[in-house]
């Protein structure tokens, strides 16, 4: 059985600003209908990667495909099928919210006016207000409405919630799940870059951690949480010698031992248990903890 063309396919992507390499040999593939997280610290190359997908930057080498198409050669077709929320949202300041949405809708084949209305109400936005007077949060909300209403197959979100207050962040994510995904479940693909990983934890199916312009780790979210564990043990005396070479990180404080493992948790647990600890607990790492553990290893 041949699988359908992925929504996004990036192979050996390279991009440098002058001598500063932003993306260096990045690979990733996003299947349709998935929510894919691109996690990285500031300057890891997330925005540059996204700009190559949107043909805002041309890859210096490597290949970028959106629905099997080269964004540089099929710019209109690619942009027709995706919507984008950048980290810095800018509108024409003299336009009102209403005029801005009408203006953005004029570029689209489809525009769900009912979704627009319900989101304007949900976000308590005043359509008559000039965009110059919008707060950062409100600006992002208008951009989100403009990205959800065209009902595109792909939604690209670049650090969408950084710098927003917790309520706006929460509403943002609920809108992506509700208004966007519900429209055609199973056929709506999301690529989201963020360093606020905890908020998107439940939404992410699969993720890639990028660092220094390269993919460091790519995993399914459920599989990641199954593999990465934190083990804590406390012994009656100083911890005995145990082979901990499998652990990603080892922290010894007094009678306590704290380990982070990537796979092999049960075996290590058994080895520790044979040393009769006073207490022994284990829990999975969240995606954010996996991110930190990976980049600090």
């Amino acid at each position: 059985m041949s699988s359908p063309t992925p929504a996004i396919e990036i192979q050996n992507l390279k991009y440098a600003y002058g001598r500063a390499e932003a993306v260096n040999d990045l690979n990733l593939s996003v299947q349709r209908g998935r929510c894919y997280g691109l996690f990285g610290r500031n300057g890891a190359g997330k925005t540059t990667t996204m700009k190559c997908l949107l043909n805002l930057l041309r890859p210096q080498s490597g290949q970028v495909r959106v629905f099997g198409l080269d964004p540089a050669k099929h710019e209109v077709e690619v942009k027709r099928r995706l919507a984008y929320v950048p980290d810095q949202v800018a509108f024409y300041p003299w336009m009102t919210v209403r005029e801005t949405l009408d203006y953005l809708a004029s570029f689209r084949d489809r525009w769900n006016a009912m979704t627009e209305q319900s989101l304007l109400e949900r976000f308590r936005l005043n359509p008559a207000q000039k965009t110059a007077g919008l707060s950062k949060g409100q600006r992002t909300q208008v951009a989100l409405i403009a990205a959800v209403c065209p009902e595109t197959e792909l939604l690209v979100l670049d650090e969408p919630t950084s710098g927003l207050d917790p309520i706006v962040r929460r509403e943002f994510i609920e809108t992506v799940i509700g208004a966007y995904q519900e429209g055609d479940p199973g056929n709506r693909t999301i690529l989201v870059s963020t360093h606020l990983i905890a908020e998107f934890e439940g939404l992410i199916d699969e993720f890639t951690i990028v660092d220094g312009g390269q993919s460091v780790l790519t995993l399914q979210a459920d599989e990641a949480r199954d593999r990465y564990h934190k083990i804590r043990a406390r012994f009656p005396h100083t911890p005995p010698e145990i082979d901990l070479s499998h652990a990603l990180r080892v922290k010894k404080t007094g009678r306590e031992l704290e380990l982070i493992v990537n796979g092999g948790g049960p075996e290590l647990l058994e080895r520790i248990e044979r040393q009769n600890p006073e207490s022994l607990t284990t829990e999975s790492l969240t995606l954010e903890e996996i991110f930190v553990a990976t980049l600090q290893a």
Binding site: Q181, E199, G202, D205, L269
Partner: protein
């Protein structure tokens, strides 16, 4: 019905939803014929992928715990598993084996383990009785 996702449990998110709804049905917190929350509001509330909830519901439907009535939503079914008895026993044996392995690792001896099983069954039955009494009182009101 309150669902709670724990990302530190290491259990796939959709399975957490499946197991919690099964538990609610077993304890009587959710009754046959009662409606489950719709996929979209539940996904929004838990802030999990819509497809994760859809996957959980289709799993619950395939094992005969819930049924979907087109245009009406999802409902808890009467407790009639469509599976044959041997299959049902085998499924349970797998779960019991896992608990036994876990008991070994947590240094819980055999007698204590068996006693715990007794206690847990009684707790569940007590809960179910409490829900039933609550219903009787409601009807009498």
């Amino acid at each position: 019905m309150l669902l709670q996702i724990n990302y530190k449990s290491g259990k796939p998110v959709y399975l957490q939803v499946v197991d919690q709804i099964k538990a609610a049905a077993a304890s009587g917190a959710l009754k046959p014929g009662e409606a489950l929350p719709c996929i979209r509001p539940l996904a929004e509330e838990l802030r999990v992928n819509r497809n994760t909830i859809a996957k959980a519901y289709s799993e619950l439907e395939s094992i005969g715990v819930i049924e979907t009535l087109p245009g009406k939503g999802c409902f808890l079914k009467e407790n009639h598993s469509p599976l044959r008895k041997e299959v049902r026993r085998k499924m349970l044996i797998e779960e019991i084996d896992q608990a036994i392995v876990q008991a070994h690792h947590l240094q819980v001896p055999r007698d204590e383990f068996l006693q715990l099983v007794q206690e847990r069954i009684e707790t569940l039955e007590e809960k179910r009785r409490a829900y039933e009494n609550l219903n009787v009182e409601k009807r009498e009101d």
